[in-house]
Symmetry: C2
Subunit: 231 residues, 2 copies
């Protein structure tokens, strides 16, 4: 039996606690990050708070082993006096959607082998995709995630805005979006690239720019340039 | 029985001919766009050539009804003397991957009801997602497709480059990429947006910029600005 204490009020705290509660041989307790006095003891204390609050919240925790869940914060930002670690689930969480930890990469970091074993046991209790990642690699994954998730979603929004403007249902683009993603599971993104930017088809690029507003033109121009420089 | 003549040497000509050959009540013939003398007759002639060649190739075709397959070219760019139309399959085609026309939106345009009925019969013989789209709407779909397919793929490439640089397997990002796409099938992209740009988290944005090369920084900065202006 591993005892876990989760401190936090956000989506990550909510989904982690839910998953640990269902897992066998884990005893999970969750408390708000606003009431960090009388902290219950636990073998692993997971603080799932905003990046800026990690130092302050961790400094108040007397428990033996404290880990944070952030992709962009170094392990040494933790200010507890005991052992330190990271338990970073690489996924986009929202209240509206249920998540299955089965597929989510759980990126772990610890300062010694025994702590790592404990984190691995915890991760394996809720997931199947457990990886050991150091702070430098995690920083890289976090920025890469911004490109493939946040920025990609924004491109979908621009596509949606254009469809609304020209009275075309955005759903027409769904099969293309699905294929865009399926393709890179068998072909490296570099090999999967197509389109006017890659072909240096200036006539089509000009036509496209005429249809866009200023902000969309800026995005179009920079990405076209980046495709052309990168190939 | 509908007779179809496909003129072209590329991926679209190849995949269309393959699909029509398998369909019932369709007789498909395919010829190269380089030999446009002695053109066989057909009820529908589909020219699947590069945008720039559409005018010249179509001007040599005496057949009754000629359609092109381009997303970005107006129906009136056709220079045949007979009827004109468009048969635009909205998908990314590559030689490496088989395509199923079942899901691909087939975007049709014609100048009269009878021609449209003929195109619809043809489209329904190979696909299930048949839509009537005028030239303005098609132009919009084409530029939207560049955002959601070409540019998205390029963001995947940047993610891949970053993983290579920091020695992290790119496959760790696959579940996140899948969720990014699944999310917008139930949530509008605008509602699905998350990340440091949306939160105006300048500290994380600064950290990310430090990890990137100049080209990646430009893309990061423009997309961050575009997310912040758009919400």
């Amino acid at each position: 039996m591993i005892s876990v204490l989760i401190i936090g009020n956000g989506n990550v705290a909510h989904h982690l606690h839910k998953a640990f509660t269902k897992a066998v041989d884990i005893h999970s307790t969750k408390i708000s990050s606003r009431k960090v006095s009388n902290i219950p003891d636990a073998m692993v204390t997971i603080i799932a708070v905003t990046d800026d609050a990690i130092a302050a919240v961790s400094s108040n925790i007397p428990n033996r082993f404290v880990v944070h869940t952030s992709g962009s914060v170094h392990i040494n930002a933790l200010e507890n006096t005991g052992s330190k670690g990271v338990f970073y689930p690489l996924q986009t969480f929202s209240k509206e959607r249920d998540v299955s930890f089965d597929e989510i990469p759980l990126c772990l970091e610890a300062t010694n082998h025994k702590d790592m074993q404990l984190l691995e046991a915890l991760a394996n209790a809720i997931g199947k995709n457990v990886v050991s990642i150091n702070s430098e690699q995690r920083k890289c994954l976090h920025v890469a995630a911004v490109f493939v998730n946040n920025f990609t979603n924004h491109l979908f929004k621009i596509g949606n805005d254009l469809c609304d403007e020209f009275n075309v249902p955005f759903e027409i683009l769904t099969p293309l979006i699905r294929e865009t993603v399926l393709k890179i599971e068998t072909l490296a993104p570099e090999k999967a690239q197509t389109g006017p930017a890659l072909r240096n088809d200036t006539k089509t690029i000009e036509k496209h720019l005429h249809l866009l507003n200023k902000q969309q033109q800026e995005v179009y121009t920079i990405l076209t340039k980046s495709i052309q420089n990168g190939h």
